[in-house]
Each structure stands twice: as C-alpha cells, then as structure tokens.
C-alpha cells in the first residue's frame, strides 16, 4: 500500500514538467503609427533665445568692481581710531 501511495505521489509531481514544455507564442503588433501632428502638449512653447550672449555679458559685468560692503575698510577703521 505504501509503495502504491509513493508511486501516486511521484506521478503527481511529474505532471507540471510535462505542462512546461508547451510553447508560448507572443504576437507583436506589426506596425504602430504615431501621428505627431495630432499630439496635444499642455504648456507654453518657448524659444531658448541667445542665452549664451547674456551669460557672457553677465560674466563680463561681474568682472567690474562694484562696492558691495565696506569690510575691506574695517581694519583701517580699527587701526586709526585715535
């Protein structure tokens, strides 16, 4: 009886391995057409402009000395109080 049960158990285990051998065929869509003209984009369409020149101007302007504080005069204020 025990032997019969064991055989039945082995038979049940072997069943899925037979099932795996079955080939799965995936079908792809042969041609997909995207109509770019019909696309709608939310937002504002902007042009980049000549940002490179602006940067150049900005950088060049930064080269120029423009007083922003008086930190460089502090030491002299301390030394020449009296």
């Amino acid at each position: 009886m025990k032997i019969l049960r064991l055989l039945l158990f082995l038979f049940t285990l072997s069943l899925p391995s037979f099932a795996q051998e079955k080939k799965v065929i995936i079908k792809y869509q042969k041609r997909q057409k995207i109509d770019l003209g019909a696309l709608l984009i939310d937002g504002e369409v902007v042009t980049p402009g000549d940002f490179t020149i602006d940067n150049e101007k900005e950088k060049a302007s930064e080269l120029l000395y423009k007083r922003k504080n008086y930190n460089n005069r502090l030491r002299i204020n301390i030394e020449y109080v009296f």
Partner: protein
C-alpha cells in the same frame, strides 16, 4: 609761578612717603589734579587705584578725557588691571583693543557706564569689535547708542565739539555702512543725511552716498555726489575710488569717451605718483602735513593735498593738543628736576610724548600706505573697465554705430530725477565754483537706450 613750584615740591615731598602710605597717592593725585597737570596726575591715579585708594569718578573722567589715547595704548602698567574691575577700565580696554585682545577689550568697554564720559568712544569701539566678529546687528546697536549719547558728552579742551562730532559721525557712517551691506540703500542714504554739510567730515560721506545711489539705480545722483569732489575745496578729499565710480557710471550710461578720459586723468594725476606714497618717510609726511602752502615739487604736492584732507581730523588736532600739553607739564616739572621723584615723572612724560609722536607718524605712514593700496586696487578696477569699454566699442564698430564713441551730451528733464529739491544745471565749463557745498545731480540721459 613760584606758587606752582612750591606745590610741586610739596607733592614730591609727599611722594617720598608714598610707598608706605596708600592714601597719600590719592592726596597726591588731588594736588597734581588741582594744578591741571593731567599727565602727571594720571601717574598717581594708577598708583592710587592699584593700592585700592578712592578717587572720585568725575576726576577720573577729566583725567582720562584729557590724555591722549596713545598713552593708554603703550602703557604696560595698565596690564596690572586686566583681571580686576576698576574705574580706569576704559584705558585698560583701549590698550587691550590695540593689542587685538578683543575679548578683554569687550569686557572692559562693557563696564563703562552711561555717566562715564568715555561712553561714546566705548560704544564705537565695541561696535567695531562686533563688526570684526560679523555680528552686524549688535554692532549697529552700539553705534546707534554712540550717536544718541554724543550730544550728552561733556566738552573739554582736549575733547572739543569737533572731537565729539567726529565720533558721532563715525558712528553714523558705520550704521549707514551696515545698512548698505544689507542692501538697504535707501536706509543708508537716510542715515547719512544726519551728517550736516557743514561738518568737515561730510565730504568723506560723498563716496558712501554715491555707492548707495548707484545701487538704488539713481545714477544721476550717484554721479552728482562724486562730481562734488571737483569743487576746489573738496579736492583734497578725493580718493581714487570716487574717480573709478564716475567712470563706471559713464560706461554704464554709454559715455565711453568720458569714461576713458577719467581713466587717463587717473593715470596722469594719481597712478604716476603712487610710488611717492609708498616710499615717503615719516618725517617727510610730518613736514608735509604741517605746511600751510602747497610745496613746489609735483610729488610733494601729490602727498600734500592728500594729507591736507586730514588736517582737520581729530587725530591731527589731538596730536597737536596733547604734544603741547605734555610739553607744558615737562617745563613745569623741569624746574624741580633736581628732585629724584621729579626725574621719574619727567621720564614718564618724555616717554608719553615720544609714543604720541610715534603713533601719529605711524598713522601718517599707514595712511599713505593705504593710499598706495587704494591706487593699486583702483588701477586694477580701471583695467577691467577699460577692457569692457573696448568690447563695447568693438560691438559698435561691428554694428556700424561708431558715432557712439563721441560723447555728445544727452540731457534729460530734471523732473525725471527723484528727490531733488533745488534743481539747476551747473555749467562746469565756464562756471566758477567757490565754496558751495551741495548734493548734486547730473541730468544725463542713458545713451545705451538710443
């Protein structure tokens, strides 16, 4: 005359027993103080305080107010009072301040109370210390307190109205500069309005005003402020940076020819002589500042006019006042120099006289060294500006706008300039400018727009 000598003999006799008697220092201080010998009384004051003698705060204030700060700076005896709280904390604080011991200086100046006559100086110095620590809000609080209490300070021979006003104005300038560094340009301008045009220090505020106007977009007013230096009376206050700012504004308003001319002027009138500022000896500077008329040599004239701007400075007149006062005391003590104690006094007084003179010579030397570095700094700024002008010119040539090189003046309606109460166009070409002081605006239109 003989009464005074008798008094001195009396005090010197007293001083012989001083070592054994604490109260005698206080008595001696009183005697010398009554004879207006403040430098001598300062010597007794230290001894009296060291021996725990009691001296009235009012008398201490008068003595400390009458003594040149260089004496405190070089008085190593004050180091005895660093860790103890005394009535001469201000003097100790001044010495610590110049030794860069800001921690102790802060403690000492903070103990100076409102009824103390050195309250405004203490607040100014505290403000400077906090500025070095980048604590601008606290610094501003001390500077404002200095301004508030300046009017309450007692005037003396040594600390005259001009002296107190100078400190007050310095404090105003620092408050304005703090606002400026915080980009609060309108507040900065408003604060500077507290300085009257009649104050000799007012011209020194012109550049500060000009930068505030510049950053707040009022180029006409900025240009007007620096143009004020063109007045003959104010030429001595002209500093290289003012010239640079003029050129910068002209450049930004597309007056390239004008900007280039200013640079040329700078090269011919300032840059050319820079080395004389660097190499001039202390004695030469002392001689130049005391001259009444301009010297003949160009290089001497260059330094003379720069130093002339400091002739009404407190550092100059306090040096003169202190030197003559010490000399007077030395003369009096010399009459009794046969006494041993008098010799000790005299040695101290000669030492004080020497350090006051040395400090003032150092001040002049450092002043011209600073002038030299300002010139170099301005020159570097001009080189970059020159480069930018060349770039603009190149672009104009490429765009066929070479007519823009010629600076044909394009004026604007005066009503377009804000906050001008009295408006008029000054003809600098044929005009005569004697001694009018004002806050000018230049009615020039920005040519870049056209």
């Amino acid at each position: 005359m003989s009464r005074l000598t008798a008094l001195i003999i009396l005090l010197l006799t007293l001083s012989q027993v001083a070592n054994s008697n604490t109260t005698s220092f206080t008595k001696m201080f009183d005697i010398v103080f009554r004879n207006d010998l403040y430098y001598s009384s300062y010597l007794f004051l230290k001894k009296a305080i060291h021996s725990k003698g009691v001296v009235s705060q009012e008398k201490i204030n008068i003595v400390l107010d009458s003594i040149h700060p260089s004496v405190f700076i070089h008085d190593y005896e004050l180091d005895k009072f660093v860790s103890t709280k005394t009535n001469i904390d201000y003097a100790v604080g001044v010495r610590r301040f110049f030794l860069n011991d800001f921690k102790t200086a802060k403690r000492k100046f903070s103990s100076v109370r409102q009824n103390n006559s050195m309250f405004i100086e203490s607040n100014y110095l505290l403000g400077l210390i906090y500025l070095t620590e980048n604590k601008t809000q606290i610094a501003s609080r001390y500077f404002k307190r200095c301004v508030r209490f300046a009017d309450k300070k007692k005037r003396t021979d040594f600390k005259s109205e001009a002296y107190i006003k100078t400190f007050k104005n310095r404090c105003i300038q620092q408050v304005a500069r703090i606002s400026f560094s915080q980009k609060n340009y309108q507040a900065s301008l408003r604060i500077m309005d507290y300085v009257k045009k009649t104050d000799y220090i007012w011209p020194r505020f012109l550049l500060d005003r000009a930068w505030s106007y510049y950053w707040s977009g009022q180029n006409e007013r900025a240009l007007g402020s620096v143009m004020t230096y063109k007045a003959p009376m104010l030429r001595r206050f002209m500093i290289p940076e003012a010239n640079y700012l003029r050129a910068l504004i002209y450049y930004e308003m597309c007056y390239f020819e004008k900007a280039e001319n200013i640079k040329e002027d700078f090269n011919n009138a300032t840059w050319k002589y820079r080395n004389f500022a660097k190499t001039a000896s202390k004695n030469r500077l002392l001689r130049l500042i005391s001259l009444n008329d301009a010297p003949k040599r160009k290089e001497d004239q260059f330094l003379y006019y720069y130093l002339k701007g400091y002739k009404k400075d407190i550092r100059y007149f306090s040096f003169q006042e202190a030197s003559s006062r010490i000399l007077n005391e030395i003369k009096k003590l010399s009459r009794v120099k046969s006494l041993k104690q008098a010799k000790l006094f005299l040695n101290s007084l000669y030492y004080y006289k020497r350090v006051i003179k040395e400090d003032f010579s150092d001040f002049l030397k450092n002043l011209t060294n600073d002038y030299f570095s300002q010139i170099n700094h301005t020159r570097n700024a001009f080189v970059k500006l020159d480069l930018m002008i060349s770039l603009k010119k190149r672009k104009n040539i490429a765009a066929n706008k070479s007519s823009k090189f010629k600076d044909k003046m394009k004026t604007i309606d005066l009503d377009q300039i804000p906050n001008t109460d009295e408006k008029f166009i000054w003809d600098f070409q044929g005009g005569f400018w004697a001694d009018e002081l004002g806050d000018y605006a230049i009615a020039l239109d920005n040519r870049c727009r056209s």
